[in-house]
Symmetry: C3
Subunit: 339 residues, 3 copies
């Protein structure tokens, strides 16, 4: 597909500084883009790459544009309010068309009573148990396993070796990356004086539309009722979501974070990587959690917290700056004088 | 299955306050239970749900019972010493009967010399190598892989895509959730001046009876000898157990914890989530490790520790309370006055 | 295979104190080795096991040798500069010969245009898509998945249920342990005011020769260009490597560490377990990161850092020693006197 720079600028709502009739056919990183490609420069850290860039056009912010004002360049500039978002739009514009679905492979293990939508692909070595329903145009890749009565929406993509255990429900356009496990038993045991008695995990996992879950992440089924991941939420690799957790809409959860049982994460929250949450706490709407934080009590809506145990981020920044000074502080105090 | 409340009270050793002839047929969460179901209220946080509860019976502690004394309610109370354990017993009572085993699927890849017990299920797409022995009534799910000479006990359940590499031994009634990897090589290398020389990992993993391992957890084989997980121990999702680790009986290890090589965790210890342990340390009998702790030296039996590096929990609670005050403390000290 | 102790001493460049004609045939741990086996004692912690050791020979350092001087023993000593490396060499010497490759299983799902080298093994239930190339003597285990146009070098071993998505390249002698996911989409989204817009992840992962990746680790494909793991680097279980990360040669990354997008880790660095790195930071050549550290800015070459946020390790050791004293310090300050 080829597109003029004028069309690109219009697509991203940006101002074009250069030849609008020039034609481009793809996107690339700033140090790799050629004359037929668009790139972007969204972070001052990458300014040194500007002068050697050979792209057809570079998407920049107003600030970056000022920085490079007057510099010689063989490419057009497209000035956008949010260059990162603009680049996303251009990359999606040039994205290859969806591969044609290949139907149900003869060697796929599909129960006779599974209900398979139109134009679905079930690859060789996939397993589809009884009572499963798969919506139109979805892909169940090799080695993926759908337990009894699982429901998969339309246009969903389950990558190789994904496991969705019995009774769980997956919405439309959901992407589950390789190795994701949905619906394993929650970690529930009661000590009876001699052993840890397993508490049956009788609930399910419900994943709403437009959710994406990263490779080898795990989302446990509820003890009763359901563990729920809200519409548009994006979960990164190796994240753990415990039983009965409720995650709202458009939440981001970065890699290796662990959310213990019965937590609630409200709409639009953003949880950094390697964060830990103890059971039964709530992260309010739009709250932000800095990576590696430990959440042991509720986080109010809109708050930004950091540290383990977590505190307001502005406080944590000051604490973190003082920590390396503790030895000198301590030594001064031992002498009785001011630090 | 239906059961009277009198039978339920007797099952859990609780006191019934209500109509003992009432019949119930299942368990559910307090906000979802209907008149034919039992639920429980074990945490004061959920007291607001008491008045709208529509269950047939609610299991409570003596303390909660006092809290709700005199309130109008359409349901019976069952007062139990440990409502959580009581609920576990009731949930197990109503658990559906075990699914009938379906034998060895024709398309399972089973070596001719594997020894398969009575009433075993090996699903399509499972791989069973030479010399494997599988005990009676065990299930090897789709996509699971048993390497050469693996031994699986009776009544074990290996969920889809579990991998048990060659020579490892799994006990009776063990549950391995989807994606668990048992017996991958330990992380052992020696720098020879030019490269990290791989140290052959010639040992195995031995998992004793009644162990449960969560989704995508990994337990590495020993360099020599064996990595051992003791009877009744429960391991959560995405936990890492390094080579030559020895875990005792009835230990709990919560999600995303990492136990480095040659560590020893003694009977009845409880390790929180996202804990890290460096190689060669011992956690004593019954010790408790708070989530996100870093264990860099031995933890004595019965201790409760927290923080990274870990310290006694009672000390850590005070440290954690002071951390957010450090900036003010520091500012006061710079002025020379008391904080 | 049997070997004399004289040959063993020569193999490891060590000094033999004992009967050089004695014959041994394997290696074992110090508390398990019998008269026909070699073992090693590299840590003073294990000195108590010396007197009861029944091995044929024990590899020790000069220091340990002094410790045990004059003690009665039924075995030879081999004194080596680096007993750990010496033991690695001996263990490799006795390693069983490589299993014979078994060819392409009839039930493997191999695209007609895949190019399979000489003496390759593709097990039942493996999936090899169109355009794939596999080098000589490599093994693709059961349940492994190679997407379109994947390239695998010679003598590589992909364990069961490994996933390598389309376009990724794996070098010679690479080992991918069970459940490893190479080439899943990076975590890239741009907020458009209503939803998190997915940024197409059009790049690949390139893994160079002699790399080893631990069970269930995940390495994401680049947005553009490639995520790269350098020659000889060893990555442990459950590690997360984000999109566009560049890891140099002979790097060690211990279990459960998370490396966010666009980070750079230079040659010979060693990253402990459960470390977290935010996007776009660089760890310099030969730097060392202590376990559980949080890396939020560049680490210079050769530095050793610890803590979250990280600081020089020598500072962190002093900070960590003071943390448990904070409560007393604070109390003293509240009284106005010296601590």
């Amino acid at each position: 597909m080829t597109t003029t720079l004028e069309e690109i600028a219009s697509l991203v709502g940006g101002d074009l500084d250069g030849d609008g009739t020039r034609v481009v056919s793809g996107v690339a990183a700033i140090d790799e883009a050629g004359p037929g490609e668009v790139t972007f420069l969204h972070h001052p850290k990458y300014l040194p790459l500007f002068d050697s860039c050979r792209a057809g056009a570079v998407i920049v912010s107003t600030e970056i544009r000022h920085e490079v004002d007057g510099r010689e360049r063989p490419f057009a500039l497209i000035v956008a309010q949010n260059p990162y978002l603009a680049m996303a739009r251009v990359a999606r514009h040039f994205e290859p068309a969806r591969a044609k679905r290949r139907g149900v492979a003869p060697s796929a293990d599909v129960a006779p009573d599974a209900v398979i939508g139109a134009d679905v692909e079930v690859q060789a070595g996939a397993h589809v148990a009884g009572g499963v329903r798969i919506g139109d145009r979805s892909v169940i890749s090799a080695g993926a396993f759908l337990g009894e009565n699982v429901q998969i929406g339309a246009d969903a993509v389950l990558h190789p070796n994904v496991v969705v255990r019995d009774g769980c429900r997956i919405g439309d356009r959901v992407i589950l990356h390789p190795g994701v496990v949905v619906g394993a038993d929650g970690f529930g045991f009661a000590w009876d004086g001699a052993c840890h008695l397993k508490i049956p995990q009788a609930g399910i996992v419900a994943i709403e539309d437009d959710v994406e879950v990263g490779a080898n992440a795990t989302i446990d089924r509820a003890t009763f009722g359901e563990t729920r991941i809200g519409r548009g939420t994006k979960i990164d690799n190796l994240v753990h979501i415990g039983h009965n957790v409720v995650v709202g809409e458009n939440v981001l959860i970065v890699a290796q974070t662990g959310v213990a049982g019965s937590c609630r994460i409200e709409d639009g929250a953003a949880i950094g990587g390697q964060v830990g949450m103890i059971p039964h706490v709530t992260v309010g709407k739009g709250a932000k959690i800095v990576p590696q934080s430990g959440i042991a009590k509720d986080v109010p809506a809109g708050e930004v917290v950091a540290g383990s145990p977590a505190m307001p981020h502005r406080v944590w920044l000051r604490v973190a700056a003082i920590l390396p000074k503790l030895p000198d502080l301590y030594a001064a105090l031992r002498k009785g004088g001011p630090a």
